[in-house]
């Protein structure tokens, strides 16, 4: 069962599957992410990451590195 305290949520500019592919190449390589997803149907393009070790800052840095905006969604 998922621990909800390890769910990190961000607003991004990952707007379509191409963008998602670019991010996937980075996120999928990390062993520290249990699962992640992007809701392409939502206007905030919400990135949802489940990870017990990475912090929000870590994720934002990774996504910025791919060339996309990423900020914590409150």
């Amino acid at each position: 069962m998922q621990k909800f305290e390890h769910v990190l949520i961000f607003k991004t500019s990952i707007e379509d599957s191409n963008c998602k592919h670019k991010v996937a190449r980075v996120l999928d390589q990390l062993g520290t992410i249990e699962t992640w997803s992007v809701d392409l149907s939502d206007e905030d393009y919400v990135l949802r990451v489940v990870s017990s070790t990475l912090s929000s800052d870590d994720i934002m840095e990774l996504v910025h590195g791919c060339g996309f905006e990423c900020e914590i969604l409150s």
Partner: protein, 196 residues
Amino acid sequence: MRNRDIEKEQLVKQKAIELIGKGGLDYFSINKLAKECKISVATIYIYYKDKDDLISRLAAEQGETMADDLVRGLDPDAPFEQGLRTQWANRYRQMLNNQTLSLFFEQIRSTLYYNRFMGAFTEKAEPILGAFVQHAVDRGDIPNLPLEVYWSVAFGPLYGLVKFHNDGVSLNGRPFTLKEEMLWQAFELVVKAFKK
């Protein structure tokens, strides 16, 4: 640390059903749902991966709920008329009490989510409904029929009346509200139809 809040979860599900029922699937979004529930978008994303995940799980849950409703008080060994009466009463009550769910159901009917709904519904309801019909056939209460024929005769008239009620108008455009006695009038004819 975020705490699971059962009440919030229930509110989210209830509002999602309402929004989808009224506005359709395309119009619906997690953002709109958050506004409607007066909570943050992030809170919803704790529980659901994305819009598709939310609707999928909602569809499956509602299928289960509908199944529970439909078989309430139904004894698979009951005489045919009694068991059918129970089912008519359950379906009628559900129609009256749960307009929101009916609207939601209409919206997902022509989509992939319908499979999730029916899958969950069938899994829960079929053992009891199927057993009821089979016992009636075995006892000789009713003839052995293709399922679709059985269903059309057993429940078609009920849903016909329900449709007039939900539309608010009858065949010639006259305003119409279903009265319970009409329901049971139709029921008597259905029971007669099944007698061998």
